[in-house]
């Protein structure tokens, strides 16, 4: 049964699911992927799949959900009938779309990866690995991950489907440091189509030269530094230190400090932070979320004022705030939570060159390995930062490795001096709610000039 026929079948079950007076919806997920891992010793290839159906009803107070793996029409029908027996117990005050919409969306890139023969892919991977492998490397691991996501969402008024492909290439170089330990550098690339395999020579040259510099990188003396944050770092700051704290379920539970500041000024006018899945070609892109909300942009911080949270259906209703397209589930058997998508500071008016000139003795923060949220305390926790010294406005080439960034978010935001107009969203990572419920996201933004950044 093709996707459109499955959509029709699932929609036909909604009436029976609502026979008890509840609200009902169904989400079908069919994700397949081709994963290739190549390093100097071996090549491993596998195909993974995650397929299932999530049926749920809302009785006025809570959701009742059933998750079934695979596609079995008999089991799906049986589950729909059992949910149809649940009676409505209270007024349903969810923000349910009333306008009917029947739409099908695709994002397959310029070159649909499924049209490229597998032999060509493996040959291209081998060629890319060879081109990126410098003789000084202890090893280089190339991870090629080609994903095909299919989703259907149906409710009384919504019949939606989307097909999104993704080509994600990660290059991990391992170099031996001057002290003898092994250090790792990571660069990644993403787009919907196979055109992403065409990685510029200049990007590979950068990977090689940066990895060699990391081998000589030193440890940083803990302290406060005048810093220029790259788009990658500014994105991580937006995501980890602010974005998680704006997820509506976190706010409703009283777990987010931002609740006290909704509508209030937190920092300067040049600081705005947004989230939204609507940018094609970014790792957090999609057409509609897992509760059928079409892609929207949410301005979480508007010129220094804490503005709107990221929502799912339940918590938007509880907080009485507008719905946004942020309800996402890791899989058919996991809960849909309010999650980020593509998260970024909005661009400003300065330039990277001007901002760097203003640093007499400071650092350019290039990359980081990740971070952790602290919505209640607004603490900043970003680890694995790689930084480069700036002296009198010029990069010196001296790197510092495995740095931790900490501090208090309002202080950090208030210390932002300038925001560049240069803007990109390079992130290709995954985000967990704590240490579970993983979803694909992207982060990025402009360069940020910030004083007194706490590093150790």
């Amino acid at each position: 049964m093709d996707l459109l026929s499955r959509k029709k079948f699932l929609h036909s079950l909604i009436d029976s699911m609502e026979s008890g007076g509840c609200y009902a919806d169904i989400l079908y997920i069919n994700n397949t992927s081709l994963a290739v891992n190549k390093d100097k010793t071996t090549i491993d290839v596998s195909r993974d799949a995650d397929e299932g159906v999530k049926l749920r009803v809302f009785d006025g107070k809570r959701f009742h959900e059933l998750g079934l793996s695979g596609w079995n029409e008999t089991s799906i029908k049986k589950s729909a009938l059992s949910l149809g027996k649940i009676k409505n117990v209270a007024k349903i005050s969810l923000d349910i779309p009333t306008q009917e919409l029947d739409a099908n969306y695709t994002a397959l890139g310029k070159i649909d990866p499924s049209t490229i023969p597998i032999k060509t892919k493996l040959a291209d991977i081998n060629t890319l690995h060879k081109a990126a492998f410098a003789k000084d490397f202890a090893n280089l691991r190339l991870h090629y991950d080609e994903t095909h996501e299919e989703k259907i969402f149906v409710s009384q008024n919504r019949k939606l489907s989307q097909k999104i492909s993704g080509c994600h290439i990660a290059l991990m170089s391992f170099v031996k440091s001057v002290e003898g330990d092994i250090r790792l550098h990571y660069e990644s690339f993403f787009d919907h189509g196979y055109e992403r395999m065409n990685i510029k020579k200049s990007s590979l040259a950068h990977l090689i030269s940066f990895s060699k510099k990391i081998a000589k990188a030193k440890k940083l003396t803990p302290g406060k530094y005048h810093c220029l944050l790259s788009p990658h770092l500014s994105g991580l700051l937006a995501h980890e230190s602010f974005g998680h704290g704006m997820e509506a379920d976190t706010l409703y539970k009283g777990r987010g400090k931002a609740l006290e500041f909704l509508g209030k000024k937190l920092c300067g006018k040049d600081v705005s932070i947004a989230d939204g899945p609507m940018q094609p070609g970014k790792h957090g892109f999609f057409f509609f979320d897992d509760e059928g909300c079409l892609a929207t942009k949410t301005l979480m911080m508007d010129e220094g004022v804490v503005n709107l949270p990221l929502t799912d259906m339940f918590n938007a209703a509880k907080l009485k705030v507008p719905r946004s397209s942020n309800a996402r589930a890791e899989s058919f058997d996991r809960k849909s939570y309010a999650r980020m998508t593509n998260t970024f500071f909005e661009p400003g008016t300065s330039t990277r060159a001007k901002m760097q000139q203003k640093i007499k003795d400071g650092l350019l923060l290039h990359t980081a390995s990740g971070g952790m949220e602290d919505p209640k305390g607004w603490g900043i926790q970003i680890q694995g930062v790689v930084a480069e010294q700036i002296k009198n406005g010029k990069l010196t080439g001296e790197l510092f490795y495995e740095i931790g960034m900490s501090g208090y978010l309002p202080t950090m935001l208030s210390n932002i001096q300038e925001v560049s107009k240069e803007f990109e969203i390079p992130g290709t990572g995954i985000c967990g709610k704590g240490h579970k419920d993983w979803v694909r996201v992207a982060e990025g933004g402009p360069y940020l000039l910030i004083k007194d950044v706490v590093l150790s």
């Binding site: 195909r47 993974d48 799949a49 009742h64 059933l66 003898g180 952790m372 931790g404």
Partner: protein
């Protein structure tokens, strides 16, 4: 899904060799939000099969795997054909296929099996929630709660004609606890995973974690720098995380990392003094225990550091063959023994919880913020937070001392407190 049908399809294809991992899962989860309101209840079930096809090329072997959710013969045959194409493109030095065998380790709670058999799993979770609420002391509130019961069964069959089966039960709870005082609120995230319901006591869980939440609230930011660090509780468990990507000792004892030229493991090479570390997947009812690994290799305890020296590697069948070392099977809980013990923590900073502890596996470097720690001054235990614990794990191994009290946690067995004299912590 008809397992025998899938096995017969593979046998009919006359493949050189193959492996199937059948998984069956059931789970029931409840999600509570503000004021103890139930937001969602989820019941899920699923079966899937992960199939690996192997093709023999003399001194080389090709392998490729795929996953299926149904036993449709045409679909499976198409996948096999695709996998054989991939085998030709993914050749590597040959390695043996072993007969699947299950180690003897207790992983399933009969009580949880009964609950699912009688469809009482959701009732059980309601009952646990009620006990948690009743045990909540004054001065704290449960901000939210996720409770989950699960049952899974894994069967590995391969072309040797043998199979091994393992069943596992699981209870999981994640509970942010907020302490309140004079308009100030801070939280402590309490989580635990057990395989046996009787290992979870709602009253103890709430009382212990409420105390930690209250201490987070009382804690001030630490100032200055401190050496003589001790680890306990969640911090100790995170430090010894049994995961190749987040534990440098595990990373470097991995045969796969050695084969990739990334490990500094050399048998007999000294990396510290007076400690021994094992991977132990055979601790009954430990969430990191297992009967076999993804090849069906029987789990076994491996001593990868013996009295401060690299000893044995943690190796799957493939990498054990490549390096000429023993096959160990799955990585289990990390078991630590210290020759030196200590009597007092006076003058020490005892870290009980990190905000996030993610060391760099290959280099051993780390930088982690403190969520909660205690400064021991005589009989006083002064709580504080913030501050950064930074360093390199390999440089801390010379001066490790363990408490005389030992115990078992999720993923760890050994001294309940570990002193790392020589490690440093920087205040804010």
């Amino acid at each position: 899904m008809n397992k025998q049908k899938i096995i017969q399809i593979l046998k009919g294809q006359k493949l050189d060799s193959w492996k199937i991992i059948f998984s069956e899962n059931k789970r029931c989860s409840l999600f509570y939000t503000k004021n103890g309101e139930l937001e969602t209840g989820i019941n899920s079930s699923g079966t899937q099969a992960a199939i690996t096809i192997y093709k023999d090329y003399g001194k080389q072997i090709g392998d490729s795997s795929f996953e299926i959710y149904c036993d449709d013969e045409d679909k499976i045959k198409a996948q096999i054909k695709d996998a054989l194409t991939l085998c030709a493109l993914a050749k590597k030095p040959i390695y043996p296929m072993l007969q699947p065998t299950a180690a003897s380790v207790e992983l399933v709670d009969k009580k949880i099996v009964e609950l699912f058999d009688n469809s009482e799993q959701e009732q059980q979770l309601f009952s646990i929630w009620k006990k948690l609420k009743e045990a909540t002391p004054s001065g704290v509130r449960i901000a939210a709660c996720e409770l989950s019961l699960g049952l899974s069964k894994t069967e590995i069959v391969n072309s040797t004609g043998k199979s091994a089966t393992s069943q596992r039960s699981k209870f999981f709870i994640e509970c942010p606890i907020t302490a309140l005082k004079k308009g100030l609120e801070l939280e402590y995230l309490a989580t635990t995973t057990t395989l046996r319901l009787s290992d979870f006591n709602p009253t103890d869980f709430i009382e212990c974690n409420s105390k930690l939440a209250k201490d987070v609230l009382l804690a001030e930011n630490i100032k200055g720098s401190h050496s003589n660090i001790a680890l306990s509780g969640d911090a100790l468990r995170d430090f010894w995380s049994p995961d190749i990507s987040t534990n440098p000792l595990v990373f470097h004892s991995s045969a796969r990392a050695k084969y990739m030229d990334l490990s500094n493991f050399e048998k007999g090479k000294k990396i510290g003094v007076g400690f021994t570390v094992h991977s132990n997947p055979l601790i009954d009812y430990n969430p990191h225990s297992s009967a076999f690994d993804f090849d069906g290799t029987k789990s076994s305890k491996v001593t990868f550091v013996s009295r401060g020296k690299w000893n044995n590697m943690v190796a799957s069948a493939r990498y054990a063959h490549y390096l000429g070392v023993s096959v160990s099977g799955a990585l289990g809980a990390i078991e630590v023994e210290c020759e030196d013990t200590f009597d007092s923590l006076d003058g020490c900073v005892e870290i009980v919880s990190f905000s996030s502890f993610v060391p760099n596996g290959p280099s051993g470097d780390f930088s982690a913020e403190i969520r909660l720690a205690y400064l021991h001054k005589g009989k006083q235990k002064i709580p504080f937070r913030a501050g950064m614990f930074t360093g390199n794990i390999f440089s801390m191994l010379d001066k490790m001392k363990g408490s005389k009290q030992t115990g078992v946690m999720d993923g760890y067995k050994g001294p309940l407190t570990l002193r790392l004299d020589g490690a440093t912590l920087s205040g804010v």
